[in-house]
Symmetry: C2
Subunit: 393 residues, 2 copies
């Protein structure tokens, strides 16, 4: 057996544990008495046209046939057209590879681009499994902590880059912080990677994980990493935008001017085959074709964001202003966020401590919950604030 | 980039090339004038209850939610019940892990069980991608050639086992040979692996890839590797039995008495997560629950098998008697099967040379084609036989 899996198996996963605890607790005292903010699973209804497209796809005689490894041509073309319009780049279908969910896409990238000894930089806080994908591919994780506003610390990034750096992984909007990478941050990252690429004589690729791209509340669209840096590989999933997390469908797109583009694309395709992917599920590929540019109605996330952020800041909690995704990132009143998460359980509040996200001292609250859950949780948060407010003084 | 992917990218894949050639040729002279036996894709209609179950699943509010990593409990239970009945073993849901197609399951096994330096034995002829999964996981492939009847050469198997052997991979019914492992062969393999396991003080696992299990024509069921050897991991896919190759849904099941069972199951689950699988596609998991024991109507494969085998043996071709799957394995009249495949193209016959399957000198003919294709190909095969029959004399 691979030692790495045995080691991972022994590691505790706070998120998984909290969800399991929550389910047991709900069975014990009733679901409406537990305020579960642990799970980042989309709650907006699947858009009607997606259901319609699924029913249409089921009429095709070839709906269950295996598609080419890079995906259905029609879907690759629809994605390319959508992205070209967004980014003002000439993105063709040949640059798009359909993948089995964003996790599949990230694992494919890590395996295609990293070899043992290579380093991948991740900007903290970051989604827990980035480490699993990078180490699984034989690479080494180098963490760069953020500034207080959750934008990247560019000085720390420059210091972290070495001749072994092959990849920098970013996530915008960010899980768990809700932050969106600013244009200034993207320019800073691009300049740092370009300079280091020249210095070491090989490109450093930016892998931009954007499943929450459409969940963006204060502006029309997020600043696009692909528009800022030519050595960008975009990883996208329809899980969040169309509320289809179980169906495992997304895409990778490489920038047209990516260094060694053909070799990289060949490696991405071969990595997918070598990891056993064959191709993404066929029915959903057919169904997504007419739905590429759509987004579920995210009004509920927008409302919940305002409600929860307003409520917690008023109660004196120190919150990162959430710009996108459906997470609120709250500074832990105790130095140990795990201890604070334990204390919150006494008020039936389930908050994920940030230690698993590579940045201790915070709690992640997923606000993709029924609005009622937030409203009914107010008394519990108030009691929690009073207990820890008093202690702080 | 990983050198292995660049190397694989450069390798020619006869199957892929032949399919591409065939498509071009069909466009040129008409699909009915090309006799394409290159593609092993199921042609039996998807059973009606599967469509019904898909429509029922689409009514569930949770149909698109991510399932647990090991799969839906209901599906794991249905699989366990079905297998217990088949094998007379007490197989519980805990022993079943739902995977994203058989390819996904095999890649997960290779990554979970092999570490660099480990050897995996494959019994030739074997499905091309076994090598990709094993080498992708850092393992080394050791090939064991078959006897003339395509049963394993047990003496060669015993000689191939070393202290580095971690895994033996079998495929029954076999792609490309159509052979089914006999009870005698299974007992021989089990004895060899048990003895070697004792000698080296660690278990050698048998990974049994059985996507064609239900495509078995001369008897009620194939002899089951899992019933013969306790250190067996079964890999199954619904692609062939339910004609759903595009939907990527299957399972792994470990024997209840598997050595180090808990650590192996933990590694299998962690490998799936690390390769980016999350969980198998949710809609299809729900839809398969009531369909676990079903098989599409395989009458057409049975008829085509008799027709093609009869026709080719009568024309003087030396054929392995096909017992299962939908492949006919034919001895090449020329020593170089690739050269013979090229010659066959002149008669618009597309036959896959066996070199990619780890056993030179044969051609694979997929007979999951319309019956008409076989009937209409007779003149071409006759002309081919005459050309090469004459040369042989």
């Amino acid at each position: 057996m691979q030692e790495k899996y045995i080691r991972w198996g022994r590691q505790k996963n706070c998120m998984r544990e909290l969800t399991a605890y929550g389910n047991a607790r709900k069975a014990e005292i009733g679901a409406d008495r537990v305020f579960d903010f642990s799970l980042g699973s989309p709650s907006a209804p699947v858009p009607k046209p997606v259901w319609e497209a699924m029913r249409e796809a089921m009429k095709r005689p070839d709906v269950h046939e295996k598609t080419p490894p890079a995906g259905l041509s029609a879907l690759r073309e629809a994605v390319a057209e959508n992205l070209s319009g967004r980014y003002g780049l000439d993105l063709t279908a040949e640059l798009v590879q359909i993948v089995t969910g964003a996790a599949g896409g990230l694992a494919v990238c890590a395996n295609a681009l990293l070899k043992p000894g290579d380093e991948a930089i991740v900007l903290a806080p970051y989604f827990t499994e980035y480490r699993v994908f990078i180490e699984g591919a034989g690479g080494t994780v180098v963490e760069v902590p953020p500034l207080a506003d959750m934008q990247p610390d560019l000085k720390a990034l420059r210091a972290a880059i070495s001749e072994k750096t092959r990849l920098v992984l970013v996530n915008t909007p960010n899980n768990p912080s809700g932050a969106i990478l600013s244009k200034k941050s993207l320019t800073g990252i691009a300049n740092a990677l370009r300079k280091a690429g020249e210095r070491y004589g090989r490109p450093i690729y930016l892998l931009s994980d954007e499943p929450y791209r459409e969940l963006c509340y204060d502006r029309k669209a997020i600043p696009a990493p692909m528009a800022a840096y030519e050595n960008t590989i975009l990883c996208y999933s329809f899980s969040k935008s169309l509320s289809l997390p179980g169906e495992r469908i997304g895409y990778l797109t490489v920038h047209p001017q990516l260094t060694d583009r053909e070799a990289v694309q060949r490696a991405l395709l071969d990595a997918a085959v070598s990891l056993g992917y064959c191709a993404a599920p066929s029915l959903m590929q057919h169904a997504i074709v007419p739905c590429v540019g759509m987004t579920a109605d995210i009004t509920r996330y927008r409302k919940n964001r305002a409600l929860l952020y307003g409520m917690l800041t008023e109660l004196g909690f120190d919150c990162v202003r959430p710009q996108g995704a459906f997470y609120l990132f709250v500074k832990s009143p105790l130095p140990d966020a795990k201890a604070f998460s334990e204390a919150a359980k006494r008020y039936e509040l389930l908050l994920v401590p940030s230690d698993d996200f590579g940045l201790p001292g915070y709690l992640r609250l997923a606000y993709c919950v029924p609005e009622e859950t937030i409203r009914r949780s107010e008394a519990a948060f108030r009691a929690l604030a009073e207990e820890f407010g008093r202690r702080k003084d």
